[in-house]
């Protein structure tokens, strides 16, 4: 028997002046909430953050999104960003709101990669050439994971020295 399900959806639009707008929805057996954030790229700073608690367990849960005002100006690429949000938004507000908020933040860099990949394909650039350019010239992906790190199998195959 299924005891619990959680679905999260994040959708990202590229707006003007380097702003990426992420809408996130979380729905599970207990909670339902939404988050909307604007992030400036390439700086990765949060320009605005709003949230709505739609299905909750206490009358005070609906106050949690007010905490999001305190995230404006933070850099989502910072080393301590995740723990900072878990403390500020999670403990200070709601951990499920922090979960969705982080999911929206984590979607920004992949959406930049996806946007570039789509443009590269339109220009007839093959995947390996796109990835080579990404590794060499996109600081946002540097050390993002093992694939984009120095000595990765990808860097070796493409002959990229990082």
């Amino acid at each position: 028997m299924t005891g619990f399900t959680r679905s999260k959806l994040v959708a990202v639009e590229k707006r003007e002046n380097g702003i990426y707008l992420a809408h996130g929805i979380l729905d599970d057996h207990v909670y339902s909430l939404e988050v909307h954030i604007e992030v400036k790229v390439p700086e990765l700073t949060i320009k605005s953050a709003k949230g709505v608690m739609k299905r909750v367990t206490t009358p005070d849960c609906v106050k949690a999104p007010t905490i999001l005002d305190g995230t404006v100006g933070l850099n989502i690429g910072g080393e301590e960003f995740n723990s900072q949000i878990k403390k500020l938004v999670g403990r200070g507000g709601c951990r499920h709101l922090a979960d969705l908020f982080l999911e929206c933040c984590k979607s920004i860099v992949p959406s930049v990669i996806q946007t570039s990949w789509k443009e590269a394909r339109r220009e007839g650039i093959c995947k390996d050439d796109f990835l080579r350019d990404l590794l060499q010239n996109e600081p946002l992906v540097k050390d993002m994971c093992g694939a984009y790190s120095k000595d990765s199998a990808l860097a070796k195959r493409l002959g990229v020295a990082l």
């Binding site: 028997m1 399900t5 999260k8 994040v10 590229k14 005070d60 999670g90 994971c145």
Partner: protein
């Protein structure tokens, strides 16, 4: 200049994550997590022994991914067998699976599965409160829950000395 007639731009990216937990016939719990976005589609299954919450089996599959070298990351999953879902497990998963040398996405999927297992039990605990037929029954169920879980204090509603606790007389 851009058009201002309709406040809409075509989406650049979407990410769907679905996590679920199920009771198995052998008494264990199974968590399933699936992620689908423009760059990757993957799923994992984690079997957890109850009540120890110890991982006894884990499997993963990548359906598509931008970087073909990433297909091998599912092998990392076996490092989690024997781990217990409990204090310190987030750090442990991020250290062994995630990080700048590993696969943070796979680590996130595992932690999403762990969350589904924990919430599986939470749903049962919340049932008496949320299905209460009166405010009095809700408050009593909430008081009982707080007395049984003295460490609950980690959000805006349950913070020690907070408005909600005060209103309930806890």
């Amino acid at each position: 200049m851009v058009q201002t007639l309709v406040d809409n731009r075509i989406l650049k990216y979407t990410r769907n994550i679905h996590a679920a937990s199920h009771d198995l016939d052998n008494g264990n719990l199974l968590a399933r997590v699936r992620i689908d976005d423009a760059l990757v589609s993957a799923q994992i299954k984690i079997e957890v022994k109850v009540p120890e919450l110890k991982i006894v089996n884990i499997k993963g599959e990548i359906n598509h991914i931008l970087i073909e070298e990433c297909n091998s990351v599912v092998e990392l999953l076996q490092k989690t067998v024997g781990m217990r879902i409990g204090s310190g497990v987030t750090k442990l998963i991020n250290g062994t699976i995630g990080g700048s040398k590993g696969c943070p996405l796979l680590a996130e999927m595992i932690l999403e599965g762990f969350n589904a297992i924990i919430m599986h039990f939470t749903v049962d605990e919340l049932e008496p409160q949320l299905a209460a037929e009166s405010n009095e029954v809700y408050i009593q169920a909430m008081k009982d829950m707080l007395e049984q879980n003295p460490r609950v204090g980690s959000c805006i509603a349950f913070v020690e000395g907070g408005e909600f606790r005060t209103r309930m007389g806890v």
